[in-house]
């Protein structure tokens, strides 16, 4: 049963993957727990539950965030996109397809977070955002090429305990249509052919 609204509970509407869900929440409920336990959207994973691993990455108003450090009540009124909402029907998102084609995972637990994060990384890069790997951050320097170093830095909020980073980096590069270093490209192409 839903708890009765009180000073510590609220009836809220969460907009997830374009669908509105009315639910009553204890204010202590994180967005992560609301997605998984209340809306049965278990694609978003709980890893560390303290903002250190990125497994719970979801898009809020188009930006990547960690769902474990947000309260569901504070997410009301925002557009939330989870891994369940990134494909178009049966057609996978290009980032999903690249992860599949290049084996950008091993156990798969961090994968939904990796993919949601990568989708946003590609958007952020396209918007011209520099990163800590960017030599010259001045706008006059122009947007940095999305090199493997740039991808690794931008994806550093998503840990993979299996260590699938090599293929993850390649998958992000492929999805971004980025030109990677020759060595990396060779490996990527071998992976795709295998």
């Amino acid at each position: 049963m839903d708890p009765v609204p009180s000073p510590t509970h609220s009836g809220i509407t969460l907009n997830v993957n374009g669908e509105k869900h009315a639910l009553s929440v204890d204010h202590r409920t994180t967005l992560l727990d609301a997605l998984r336990e209340r809306l049965d959207l278990t694609g978003t994973k709980k890893g560390c539950d303290q903002g250190q691993c990125g497994a719970c990455t979801v898009l809020v108003d188009g930006r990547r965030t960690v769902a474990c450090l947000q309260f569901a009540v504070a997410a009301e009124g925002r557009e939330i996109t989870t891994i369940e909402g990134v494909a178009e029907g049966e057609r996978l998102h290009p980032v999903q397809q690249a992860f599949l084609d290049l084996d950008g995972y091993q156990c798969g637990y961090c994968t939904p977070g990796q993919i949601c994060s990568a989708i946003a990384v590609i958007e952020e890069h396209a918007a011209g955002w520099p990163s800590a790997a960017t030599d010259d951050v001045r706008p006059e320097a122009g947007p940095p090429p999305l090199t493997p170093d740039e991808i690794r830095e931008r994806m550093s909020g998503n840990l993979c305990r299996c260590g699938a980073y090599v293929a993850i980096t390649q998958a992000v590069a492929r999805a971004a249509g980025a030109r990677t270093a020759p060595a990396a490209q060779t490996t990527a192409d071998r992976g795709a052919a295998a």
Binding site: H27, T65, A74, E124, W129, A132, S156
Partner: protein
């Protein structure tokens, strides 16, 4: 976690009123630190006042050529802003050196300044900590302190302030503006954090019930050539063990203007004024830079397991100033 009430504020007066209505209320910005501390029981607010809808999310040039940054601007938006990148590139670099893309999309400027130390004794409620429970002791001094303070600490607390953003803001003479029920206030960031002394639980000059509304950067032509360099235990997504924000103007081989601030060495971002005085008007070169670094670090009081930081900071200061001087000579 303690149960709590939740309120969303839409204007500053409303936010102050909501906070004032509950002595155990806290402002909630991005939540990247507060929510974590609530989960571990370090913070136990009775209610949260969500300030993310406040109209404080703008970055505006000021009439005198500086920048005014709203308190609810996210780290991401601050780092990506063209005028920040153009006028204060070390500020963009500092912000981008902190946390992860996800956390930078959530975290806000006001919250960054008020984030708490990551000292493992502070974040573990089963341990003593003078910052969390005044008078309970500081186990870090005899215990795990390899990433603790070497400057400005006391026998009561050796924790460091974890901010990267704050180091660049400190170098560039930022002023914090805030609003209270009794009217507005402001404080230079260099005076914003209180000395540790025997009151490590009192961290800032903010009066009770105050809301940070923004940060103002004065014009600083020297900042257009600036750098932030951070050393940490892995290549990305980790707190600093030492960092430097610096700006340098060299003409005819002589230092005309310099700004220098250090991170992860003290309870606050550390403005290196002793080094700046040693550098002003001196010939730009490795010897000058090393002498200035030594002058600043003469006040260092390392603990048994963090003495490396003194060497690290010396080398970091020399390296960053040398890079900036070489850039200026090009």
């Amino acid at each position: 976690m303690r149960e709590f009430g939740y309120h969303r504020a839409y204007d500053v007066a409303g936010a102050l009123a909501l906070l004032g209505a509950d002595p155990d209320a806290r402002f909630l910005g991005g939540g990247t630190n507060l929510v974590d501390l609530m989960k571990t029981g370090v913070e136990r607010p009775a209610s949260l006042v969500d300030v993310r809808e406040l109209p404080l999310d703008g970055i505006e040039p000021t009439a005198d050529g500086g920048l005014r940054i709203g308190a609810t601007v996210t780290n991401s938006d601050l780092a990506a802003h063209p005028e920040v990148r153009r006028r204060y590139p070390a500020l963009t670099q500092a912000v981008l050196a902190g946390a992860s893309g996800q956390l930078r999309n959530m975290a806000t400027v006001g919250g960054n300044l008020l984030q708490r130390t990551r000292c493992a004794y502070f974040t573990d409620v089963t341990q003593a900590c003078n910052k969390r429970v005044p008078g309970s002791g500081c186990p870090a001094i005899e215990g795990e302190h390899h990433n603790h303070a070497v400057l400005g600490a006391s026998e009561h607390c050796v924790a460091v302030h974890p901010s990267d953003m704050g180091v660049a803001l400190t170098a560039f003479d930022a002023t914090v503006t805030y609003e209270t029920p009794d009217g507005p206030g402001r404080s230079p960031l260099t005076d914003f954090y209180l000395p540790v002394a025997d009151t490590p639980h009192q961290e800032t000059v903010l009066p009770p019930g105050a809301l940070i509304t923004g940060v103002t950067l004065p014009p600083a032509p020297v900042a257009a050539r600036s750098r932030y360099r951070k050393v940490r235990e892995r290549a990305s997504y980790a707190f600093a063990i030492g960092s430097v924000a610096a700006a340098l103007d060299v003409r005819d081989g002589v230092v005309q203007d310099v700004r220098l601030a250090l991170g992860a060495v003290a309870s606050r971002p550390w403005r290196a004024r002793t080094a700046e005085r040693a550098l002003a008007g001196a010939p730009a070169g490795a010897e000058t830079f090393a002498a200035a670094a030594d002058a600043e670090l003469a006040a260092a009081r390392p603990l048994p397991h963090n003495g490396y930081k003194v060497t690290l900071m010396r080398n970091l200061i020399v390296a960053v100033l040398t890079e900036l001087a070489e850039e200026a000579a090009r």
